[in-house]
Symmetry: C2
Subunit: 131 residues, 2 copies
């Protein structure tokens, strides 16, 4: 058994951390059933952005849904994780899409037929565990 | 816009991938609200194991709950992800705990006051995206 310490991150530190992580995971609840999706994401103006295919399961669940989002980084000694709780929505207005594109997101999922999803946070929680 | 390809992993490939990943994320749904937790995990006998603190939020939600679990790995060119859907339970019987300990799990969260959680899968889905 090894002692370990846990430090919270401030909200600023949490955002800084998120801005440096290219991939996170979106968790949703559909009829009481949890779902989880890895996504490439970007940060802009205190919101998270990612793309998905229209008609995909992820697009379905992202329609004004309550979501939890997590990104992390770990070495054998230190694990850092930030969790966002908030609401996801598919962007339909040109100005919103322009703001999303301005994040410069690089996604694995990019065949030109995507829709943008934006997560507006209600709570941001970051923590760092040190072995 | 860059074309990309997606290949499914077989169930065997998915388990092999999971066995080589030290950290994953557990998603749960509590009263319709999604939650997500990063965890150090291990694989044994076709099940997933991790530890948590008794009385923690994670311990609460893991009581016989439907969960989704995800682990991934990515480079700029290739992203691999495996998602498990199943049921989580806190282990209370000595034989179950012995099986869990036999996985040799190394966790950040280890102060000697932990409980084991086991996920029994119902569905395993793996995929690999190549840019």
């Amino acid at each position: 058994m090894t002692a370990q310490s846990m430090s919270p991150l401030t909200e600023d530190e949490s955002w800084e951390f998120l801005a440096g992580r290219p991939v996170g995971r979106l968790a949703t609840s559909v009829a009481g059933e949890p779902e989880i999706f890895p996504v490439s994401f970007a940060v802009g103006d205190g919101r998270l952005y990612f793309v998905t295919h229209p008609g995909s399961k992820l697009a379905e669940v992202a329609v004004n849904a309550r979501v939890a989002f997590e990104a992390d980084e770990w070495t054998p000694e230190v694990a850092t994780s930030v969790v966002i709780k908030g609401t996801a929505e598919i962007l339909e207005h040109d100005a919103d899409v322009a703001a999303a594109e301005a994040t410069g997101l690089v996604s694995y999922l990019d065949d030109g037929k995507n829709v943008w999803v934006r997560i507006t946070p209600e709570a941001v929680t970051g923590r760092r565990l040190t072995r």
